[in-house]
């Protein structure tokens, strides 16, 4: 299973964290610090796996962002690379060539997308189209609620004029 997902910028700033195994806040900070030290310093041609505390961390760099997933020792590292890519492609389609700023200002969207891909540290959906469809449907639910709220507040605003 995937124990946690981390997105770290090249400067070591955290852009997304998702924990599927229990870690206290203190441990989380420590883990992030340790792993950024391990991963950000690795050279470009080396393999994408780091052994860490009996687990393996699979990472892949996209532009200035490192996508890291921590898996159990007997999980398939190559597949996890594909899962990372799967996630990135879905983000890319959603935001339209995604960049770090999108993930900063719309971090919650990235989380919503991740929640459609992974649950309990296991893969939920192998079709990018399905994920996009589900996210779009939920976004439109939010839109609809917003419009309704706006129209009600307009009515109130007009009525109290």
């Amino acid at each position: 299973m995937i124990n946690f997902v981390l997105l770290i910028s090249r400067q070591g700033k955290v852009r997304l964290t998702k924990w599927y195994s229990p870690y206290t806040q203190k441990e989380r900070t420590k883990v992030i610090r340790e792993l950024s030290g391990l991963i950000l310093t690795r050279g470009p041609k080396l393999c994408n796996f780091v052994e860490w505390r009996g687990y393996k961390v699979v990472y892949r760099r996209y532009a200035s962002l490192y996508f890291c997933m921590c898996i159990d020792a007997d999980d398939n590292e190559l597949e996890v690379l594909e899962i990372i890519h799967h996630f990135v492609e879905i983000l890319d389609r959603y935001f339209g060539s995604v960049c770090e700023l999108d993930l900063i200002f719309n971090f919650h969207k990235a989380y919503y997308i991740l929640d459609e891909i992974l649950i309990a540290g296991e893969l939920q959906e192998s079709s990018k189209k399905n994920v996009a469809r589900l996210i779009a449907a939920q976004d439109s639910l939010v839109e609809a609620a917003k419009e309704e709220a706006n129209s009600i507040s307009n009515i109130i605003a007009q009525a109290t004029k």
Binding site: K45, N48, N106, I119, Q124, V142
Partner: protein, 893 residues
């Protein structure tokens, strides 16, 4: 930049819902934080925002709740405390609208984890949402439950999830299946409720459902034996069908990854097949054809394809595969290993680890490639390769392999040297057929990486040297020469100084020359020079200096002609601020000056100690052989014999546990606990007096002498100035008992010993986070006759639980019958023993008996595991009994 911001603004706007909102919007806050130049500025912004959010919370402003939650999540991600917002999550979840629920659940998953009591409060809302008519709200609840539920919630909400697995909605079904994985992980007892449902889901068509169901099945197999059997009976056909369909399917753009249809489903099915086929010939036979198809049909030029091949090879090696299939797997493995891509090479090494159980010969063929990988630029690859080399070593190839590794030691990264040295040492120790070779290798390792050698390794070396009387001359001469060249290698220096002190006359007179040796000319004063140089060079290392002083004292008796000069050197430390050195200096000077008559007998050579019993002790107390990434802090020289030393008071529940070898090693237990710290001076000095009696003493007690000698001052350097120099209250008793040859022992690690619990507490337990370091197996016990390995399997969600797979190997040439393994644990641990695979252990390691243990450490994170073990068996009808203590568990268990 502007356009990006604009787009961003649009997306961010749905967060700021209310047109009447006051304060900053989420986007503005993020921008303000990003604009901060210093950490202090950032803190100020965050503080201001938090204050506003708190105010909004206390005024119960519903309109801002949604936006504030988003802000809190961002602030949380930056690492600031956000606990005050936890209740807001619950309020948002309890709201009726979808937008509120969506952000509320996200906040719940981000800000809380399963250990917070607040989480219990959400159970009711979750239950309502699981029964909601809107599938997306059900989806949110399932997702949250699957990601953070605790055992209690799992129990409470399991019926709801079971019901949802029968839902008509695809989205709900797959989420419910994944959610059940978490539930089963938290409460394995519930596994049986899900197995029927899971096998039903395997008949679906939708890939999302299939993937989820396959993963659920995998988890069920791990959780329950009944479920494993059930799924073997009911699912194997379905699985083969799924794999065949997906592998034969024509191009499907929705699932296509680099020309392969749904590699994720491929891999997950293959993984489940491995679990089902393991040890089950019927199941394995059923999947032979499809595995062969996947292994041959998949083209290996893209990562996705390689991922499938990798999984497929692992499955073939894990099940009872036909020999043809194994050949196929081995060929793929060879292809992987020669690949230039580092990722592929890394996983190839992983595969080899598995292959070694299937076809050792095939793995041996790749030995040169593996050795190359040990020298790779990539630390991950090096580490894997080194583990593998360790498994590959046997009697025939040990010499060339060791040579390669030792040669590489010179070039290796400093970071890597420690691992490499540990491995070389254990290889050399394990396979040393001839002592000269062993000594040569050890001298090389000490010369090249003496600073990375662990204490127990060079202690063992000293034991070997002191036993090999015909090689002592050779040793001291080699070490003397090595000392000239590699004076900055700490443990080399210690061993060399010890040998010069003991065997000084062999050094200067070329005694015991071997044929291959060139004679060297060393004068008495050269030998003293060497020690003096070390004494001055290692001014900060108390242990080394203390050893130098002892060596000088010994030399003063070996070389009476220059004892005046030695006295001068020794007395230079008379005013040393380290009490330990000061005392030695003063006492030694007085021995040299005033007690010449007793000096020769006082300073005789150290008595030879029993190698076998030393090794047994070492193996049962220290990690000994297998890879240790970090030296366990507890394995100090004093720690070597702690288990014997902590036996006394029967009050503690642990005491009994720790008293492991009271039968084999009588007298030590009591002697060592009562002995005050650091009376090794008495030991050392007393040796001359009791020499004759120790010679006849039980071997175990003489072992202690050595350890005493070796651990000189080691506690001093670690624990600061010890209470050591107060003369020990039991000194007279001790000396009295010495002469009656019952026991000579003393414990050095003063602060560690007196409490019974310390053996266990002393083990590294601070890595409790996730609990782990890199080894998943240890050598739990080794004697001259029997070897026990423990393999560990952890349950990531439940760090307190560990499944141990014990393998017993017979090292003698007679097979053992009626073999029974027993284990005992302290009260805070629960233990369950599975039945053993047999009760006959075949001779000479031709096969072994295995047995499973499940342990639950109720004080996980505070106390490490400890198990006392006992093996009884019959050799040619004669009863035998062995016992030991396993405390070298990897940290974090």
């Amino acid at each position: 930049m502007d356009t990006v911001e604009k787009i961003v603004e649009e997306f961010a706007s749905d967060i700021a819902m209310s047109p009447f909102s006051s304060g900053t919007r989420l986007r503005d806050m993020i921008r303000a934080i990003r604009a901060c130049k210093t950490a202090a500025e950032e803190r100020a912004v965050v503080r201001r925002e938090c204050a506003e959010i708190r105010a909004a919370i206390s005024e119960n402003e519903q309109e801002l709740r949604h936006r504030n939650m988003a802000k809190l999540m961002f602030i949380h991600m930056l690492g600031y405390p956000t606990h005050f917002g936890q209740m807001e999550c619950l309020k948002l979840i309890a709201a009726t609208g979808y937008p509120e629920k969506r952000i509320g659940y996200l906040g719940l998953m981000l800000l809380l984890d399963e250990r917070q009591e607040v989480l219990m409060l959400v159970t009711n809302s979750l239950k309502q949402d699981l029964n909601h008519s809107n599938q997306f709200i059900v989806g949110l609840a399932l997702c949250a439950l699957g990601n953070i539920c605790s055992a209690e919630m799992a129990r409470d909400l399991s019926p709801e999830v079971e019901r949802l697995m029968r839902s008509r909605e695809v989205n709900t079904k797959k989420k419910a299946a994944l959610c059940s994985i978490r539930i089963v992980r938290k409460v394995p007892d519930l596994a049986e409720n899900f197995m029927g449902l899971a096998s039903l889901l395997l008949k679906e068509k939708h890939h999302g459902i299939l993937i989820s169901a396959v993963q659920l099945c995998t988890e069920l197999c791990k959780a329950s034996k009944d479920a494993l059997e059930y799924l073997r009976k009911n699912c194997i056909e379905g699985l083969v069908r799924i794999l065949r369909d997906v592998s034969n399917s024509s191009y499907a753009p929705e699932y296509d990854v680099a020309g392969i249809s749904d590699p994720f489903l491929h891999i997950r099915v293959l993984k489940l097949m491995r679990i089902l086929g393991q040890g089950d010939a019927d199941c394995s036979e059923y999947m032979n054809d499809i595995l062969a198809q996947v292994a041959t049909k998949t083209e290996s030029n893209k990562n996705a394809a390689n991922a499938i091949l990798y999984e497929c090879v692992q499955t073939i090696m894990g099940i009872e595969a036909t020999s043809g299939l194994c050949v196929l797997a081995i060929n793929i493995l060879g292809r992987f290993l020669s690949n230039r891509d580092n990722n592929i090479r890394y996983v190839a090494l992983n595969m080899l680890m598995r292959a070694i159980n299937v076809d050792t010969q095939a793995v041996q063929r790749h030995r040169t490639t593996i050795l190359e990988c040990v020298k790779d630029a990539d630390a991950s690859i090096r580490k894997r390769a080194l583990e593998l080399v360790f498994l590959l070593v046997n009697d025939t190839n040990v010499k060339p392999l060791t040579k390669e590794l030792v040669d590489y030691l010179d070039l290796a990264d400093p970071d890597f040297k420690e691992d490499l040295t540990a491995k070389i040492c254990s290889i050399v120790e394990k396979f040393s057929q001839d002592k000269l070779w062993y000594l040569d290798q050890m001298f090389k390792v000490l010369s090249l990486a003496g600073n990375h050698v662990k204490d127990d390794v060079w202690h063992a070396l000293v034991v070997v040297i002191s036993n090999a009387s015909e090689l002592q001359g050779y040793s001291v001469r080699s070490l003397y020469m090595a000392l000239q060249a590699f004076v900055d290698q700490g443990s080399l220096v210690r061993v060399a100084v010890w040998c010069i002190g003991e065997y000084g006359e062999m050094l200067v007179n070329n005694i015991g020359m071997l044929q291959l040796e060139e004679p060297i000319t060393v004068t008495e004063s050269d030998a003293v020079d060497a020690v003096q140089l070390t004494l001055n060079r290692y001014s900060a290392d108390v242990t080394t200096r203390a050893m130098c002083l002892v060596a000088l004292l010994k030399l003063s008796s070996r070389f009476p002609s220059i004892s005046e000069r030695i006295k001068q050197i020794v007395s230079q430390n008379k005013e040393n601020i380290v009490l330990e050195l000061q005392q030695r200096s003063i006492e030694f000077s007085s021995i040299i000056q005033r007690h010449q008559s007793i000096r020769p007998s006082l300073l005789e050579r150290m008595p030879v100690l029993d190698e076998a019993s030393y090794l047994v002790k070492r193996a049962s107390t220290t990690q000994g052989t297998l890879a240790a990434d970090k030296p366990a802090p507890a394995v100090t020289p004093g720690g070597l014999k702690l288990p014997n030393g902590v036996a006394k008071p029967a009050t503690s529940p642990l005491a009994d546990l720790l008293d492991l070898s009271s039968d084999d090693v009588p007298a030590i237990a009591t002697a060592s606990t009562t002995t005050a710290p650091n009376d090794f001076l008495q030991d050392l000095l007393g040796i001359g007096g009791v020499n004759s009696s120790t010679a006849g003493a039980p071997s175990s007690s003489s072992t202690d002498i050595l350890i005493d000698l070796l651990s000189i001052g080691s506690s001093t350097s670690q624990n600061g100035p010890p209470a050591a120099d107060f003369s020990p209250p039991q000194a007279t008793d001790l000396l009295g008992s010495l002469s009656s040859s019952t026991s000579i022992s003393g414990i050095k690690s003063a602060p560690a010993v007196p409490q019974d619990m310390d053996l266990l507490d002393g083990l590294p337990s601070n890595t409790s986070i996730s609990g782990v370091d890199n080894h998943s197996s240890i050598m739990a016990f080794q004697s001259a006759t029997l070897k026990i390995n423990f393999d560990f399997k952890r349950h990531p969600g439940k760090p307190q639980e560990t499944t141990i797979h014990a393998t017993f190997t017979n090292l003698t040439s007679t097979s053992y019958t009626d073999f029974v393994f027993q284990a005992a644990v302290p009260k805070f641990i629960q233990l369950r023993l599975d039945p053993a695979s047999g009760n006959v252990v075949p001779a000479s390691g031709n096969g072994s008996v295995t047995q499973g243990l499940s342990v639950t450490n109720n004080q996980h994170g505070q106390k490490p595991l400890a198990i006392r073990i006992r093996m009884s068996y019959k050799v040619n009808g004669e009863d035998r009994l062995e016992q030991g203590q396993v405390s070298n568990f990897p940290p974090g268990l």
